[in-house]
Symmetry: C2
Subunit: 394 residues, 2 copies
């Protein structure tokens, strides 16, 4: 690889809190392998405010329109971190014009399969490399589970059991995330929370070969609160959390999927919206094998982040002992990058190293969107779930 930093045009860096700030910026500001040369925001002013707020180089170009951004021939890598329904309208004009050699977009890529397919086709027609923000591929927890299985620590896997909570999708959500409840936006518990977990899990245990699925919306509306769940009232002068509205929920807050993996293991996964039961793991993932069992726990659905609070244990059936396995640390842990930025940092490193098989691409986005469509279809037509007859025949 060139010793020159890869020149990044970053889309969606707010001046304050957002995913680009939490997941992309910490690494990009820290590394000599990449350099942010341009920002695209909702307006040039917003882009300039972000450049100033984050102390980016004063020669960073500020754009307010995708067309102008696309004409910047100095950009080598386009990075898109905006709300999912804006991927397509922003990326399409950029991909049509840009001379950049690569494009990196968060998962879900576009709000549905059609958008993902069109964007992927467009990027391929331009010969661009693609990166997808399914960061779980580079999250140490899933990689460790894969290695433990390959090392024969539990023998042949016989069954997978996962229970998880969404944190969002309960009785109330943060108003800035109210769009999660609108299924037409494309960002929701199925596409984001469930898909990230499934992608992280399946890289370790193998893909689904057959399944049936239940998707349901048990709360058809959600209240909106004016503060995120992380908000803690520090003093009496702090304004307490208020309910500031209510929106209908058309996206799903219940997902149950069961079936088999390609290796034959039984697979069972139930995820519900809402907060975890106190003092229990928000995510509990078991791999029960012939000679032992792996148990992964995490405080929430964020298995693809790599932490904090992840635990990986192995129960050895013969000795009946439980071993806590250390999750490997790397320089991004040592540098104490925010957890949300560590797996993305590893993705950036893998791309810079040309290790294409270590990160997800837009082909994977198309595959994951196909699963999402399959889940929607199967849960709607009910062909996989028959009426129970045993209760009415007496």
């Amino acid at each position: 690889m060139s010793s020159q930093p890869i020149r990044v045009g970053l889309i969606g860096l707010n001046k304050s809190d957002c995913w680009a700030v939490n997941a992309h910026l910490p690494y990009l500001k820290d590394t000599s392998r990449y350099r942010i040369v341009a920002l695209l925001n909702s307006s040039e002013d917003a882009a300039r405010a972000a450049i100033s707020s984050h102390g980016l180089s004063s020669d960073t170009r500020a754009y307010g329109s995708p067309e102008k951004f696309a004409e910047d021939n100095d950009i080598e890598l386009v990075v898109c971190s905006v709300r999912v329904d804006r991927h397509y309208p922003i990326l399409k004009p950029i991909l049509e014009k840009t001379t950049a050699k690569a494009v990196h977009c968060e998962w879900p890529l576009g709000k549905n399969l059609a958008e993902a397919e069109e964007l992927t086709k467009l990027a391929k027609s331009k010969g661009m490399k693609t990166i997808l923000g399914l960061q779980g591929r580079k999250a140490p927890t899933g990689i460790l589970v894969k290695e433990l299985i390959q090392q024969g620590k539990i023998g042949k896997p016989l069954s997978i059991t996962i229970t998880a909570i969404g944190y969002n999708f309960g009785a109330a959500d943060f108003e800035a995330l109210s769009y999660l409840s609108d299924i037409s936006i494309g960002g929701n518990m199925v596409t984001i929370h469930f898909s990230h977990i499934l992608d992280t899990v399946t890289q370790a245990v193998g893909e689904l070969s057959s399944y049936s699925v239940v998707l349901d919306t048990m709360r058809d509306k959600t209240m909106l609160r004016n503060k995120p769940f992380t908000y803690v009232q520090k003093s009496e002068s702090d304004e307490p959390v208020k309910i500031v509205g209510e929106v209908p929920r058309t996206s799903h807050d219940q997902i149950a999927i069961q079936g088999h993996l390609e290796n034959g293991a039984v697979f069972s996964f139930h995820m519900r919206g809402g907060h975890p039961y106190p003092n229990t793991a928000g995510l509990d993932w078991r791999v029960y094998g012939e000679t032992g069992e792996i148990r992964v726990t995490a405080p929430s659905a964020n298995l693809h982040f790599g932490g904090p609070g992840h635990s990986v244990q192995v129960h050895n059936h013969e000795t009946n002992s439980v071993e806590e396995v250390n999750i490997p640390q790397d320089s991004w842990d040592e540098k104490k990058l925010p957890f949300t930025a560590r797996a993305p940092a590893r993705v950036y490193e893998a791309f810079a190293d040309g290790k294409e098989h270590e990160y997800a691409t837009w082909d994977d986005a198309v595959q994951r969107h196909r699963l999402v469509e399959e889940l929607y279809d199967r849960s709607k037509n009910g062909s996989t779930e028959k009426k129970a007859e045993y209760t009415s025949r007496l």
Copy 2:
């Protein structure tokens, strides 16, 4: 009711350890409402040995043949507690001849639906009352969950999540229970462990209205050990546990079922054979509701026993507090009957009190056998589980 004790003819009381000894005898010996007047064992000698071993009245009649037992016109209640595949050949000749007014049999009644239907029809044709040993109907844990829901403690139930282990059906089983691995016997993880849990759970939350199911045998053989899992080597002179053989396993060691209840709640239940992960509940049953969540934990699949080690908690979403709810005690707890005998004691009491809706009958046995057949059918023909196509289309 008559103040005279109900005269019981008990089938299957060994001189030492067995289900009749553990679940039926402690109550029957303790109560003034029933009196054991006759035993039917594999031989008259075996029946006499049991009478002597358990200190039953010396005028207790001993029988070695169902036909002779059936001619005992003093028996009012026939109680059958033998291995499931012996229910039909023993009960059929008895039901044809007996003058008893009632019959009590353990679940599963007979080894399949056909046997249960025939026995039920026969009992009805004789005008006999029937009792079924689905003791979970009188186990305090399930009853308490039902009451908590009815009291509105968690609002409308939105989803049910159950994970459970079978204890049996792992890599090795106790040799005396090797028949559990042979599906043709009719006693296995689906008919016994799963069905008892499901019956106990559904009385609290409502019946399934639709579902898909995965049944699998992931270990196609099991080793046999010469001691039960409860055996603990007390001194070096004790013989340690030995593997004394191996049998094929044709019954299932994996059950995954998901769907909806009649009240609309999502239902997800995964049960695997083998021992629990150390320091976790062998059974974890959640009822997630609009305003709170009930969590029931038990050390094993024996939810229908009522203990020991059961815990029922309620998480209140608004206060974020968890309340441990005391499981109501009654005289059978106070008398410290073995746990296995307390729910059966309550069934006997309900029958003596004429409270027909408080215990399961053979109609329920037919219904549960229909479910078991439905599970077998659905899991075999695969109509409820479609091949995943998303992995092969790139």
